[in-house]
């Protein structure tokens, strides 16, 4: 049974696209057949983070409008053969997406993949509501910061009311993914800690991704962080999160940077 998972947050810039790419690649590395779908029509970026920006021919809107077939718009990852990308349109506006059109495509993707990861645009407008519309599960990406937590709470409310699952009296399975976490600052009381966030949002935790230079380094080169440097702290966090999505129970850790002796002597952080 395919699972449709929306990666959402309300607030922009918290790491939705990074997390979609990282989780998608991690699931694919575990042997799952995965498609990541960019719902950010007009401001697509998942193609760039995945390193497929020069291979986009057709997009989601083309498929919704019948200009292209789904098989023509899907881009296969060059590193992982069971990872695919369905890009958003860069030129059309978001009104080109319709509820019905998205429904047809999601149903089609369900038949072809184990996982359909929908990368939501920021905000609570049409693009965001359509990205979550057909979801079975949701990853709510949250930074340890007041505005992000507030927006996550708002999005949780929408997941519980505006999705097909909610309308049928069922529930979208929700997970909190905390990104850009700095344990030292949280310990000093300078940053909301994990317990604070989980208590406020009353939603189970999927993983804790520490603030790390590796995330930017991976997006610079167009490679999901889980593939670019699998030993890095964020990659390990995303791999563990992906395993939890697949139903494994593993203890929650906050992966930290491994600083080698040489690097420490030289005052550098480990790659």
């Amino acid at each position: 049974m395919a699972k449709v998972l929306v990666v959402t947050s309300g607030k922009g810039g918290v790491g939705k696209t990074t997390s979609t790419a990282a989780l998608g690649a991690a699931l694919a590395q575990s042997g799952q057949k995965v498609v990541v779908v960019d719902f950010d029509v007009g401001l697509r970026n998942l193609d760039l983070v995945m390193g497929a920006e020069r291979r986009v021919v057709f997009d989601l809107i083309n498929v919704v409008q019948g200009v292209a077939k789904l098989s023509q718009a899907l881009i296969r990852d060059k590193r992982l053969e069971n990872l695919w990308l369905l890009p958003a349109s860069q030129t059309r506006d978001k009104d080109a997406l319709t509820d019905q059109g998205v429904g047809v495509i999601i149903a089609d993707l369900r038949a072809r993949f184990d996982w359909v990861l929908c990368d939501s645009p920021a905000g609570i407008e049409r693009g965001a509501t359509l990205a979550m519309r057909y979801a079975d599960e949701a990853v709510i990406v949250t930074n340890p910061e007041v505005s992000s937590v507030r927006d996550s709470d708002r999005i949780i409310g929408m997941l519980d009311s505006k999705t097909v699952k909610a309308e049928q009296g069922e529930r979208v399975v929700k997970h909190i993914l905390i990104t850009r976490y700095d344990q030292a600052r949280a310990a000093r009381g300078e940053m909301l800690n994990i317990d604070d966030i989980l208590e406020i949002l009353a939603t189970p935790l999927l993983g804790i991704v520490p603030e790390s230079q590796d995330v930017l380094r991976a997006s610079n080169v167009g490679c999901p962080v889980t593939l670019n440097n699998a030993a890095s702290a964020p990659a390990r966090a995303y791999h563990e999160a992906a395993r939890r999505l697949m139903g494994e129970t593993i203890p929650m850790t906050i992966p930290s940077e491994r600083v080698g002796l040489m690097n420490r002597l030289l005052g550098r952080r480990a790659a």
């Binding site: 910061e145 007041v146 937590v149 507030r150 709470d153 708002r154 409310g157 009311s161 949280a186 000093r188 009381g189 300078e190 940053m191 909301l192 800690n193 604070d196 406020i200």
Partner: protein
């Protein structure tokens, strides 16, 4: 010596408890509003309808504001009436 210093140091850096408390209060309020969207909009429409039965009104001149206080909140309704409205009421009555 150090407890006083420590407390001084902590109170300056530990802003997270403030964030937590602000969020808890705010979200308790916002969750309460969910599902009954736009209370102020509905109030404005209904007040406008009632008053318009008796006085000709410019819809733009009806302002409804809510201010949340710690223990009570106030609802402020500001309706600008044209100057000749008493006469109209007199003729209707």
């Amino acid at each position: 010596m150090s407890t006083g210093l420590l407390r001084l140091f902590k109170s300056r850096t530990a802003s997270a408890p403030v964030a937590r408390e602000r969020l808890q209060i705010l979200l308790a309020h916002e969750r309460g509003l969910r599902g009954q969207p736009e209370l102020l909009g509905i109030l404005r429409e209904e007040i406008l309808a009632v008053v318009s039965r008796h006085v000709e009104l410019d819809p733009e001149k009806v302002i409804v504001r809510m201010e949340r206080g710690d223990s009570v909140s106030t609802l402020e309704v500001d309706i600008e009436l044209p100057n000749h409205f008493e006469r109209r009421i007199a003729t209707v009555g």
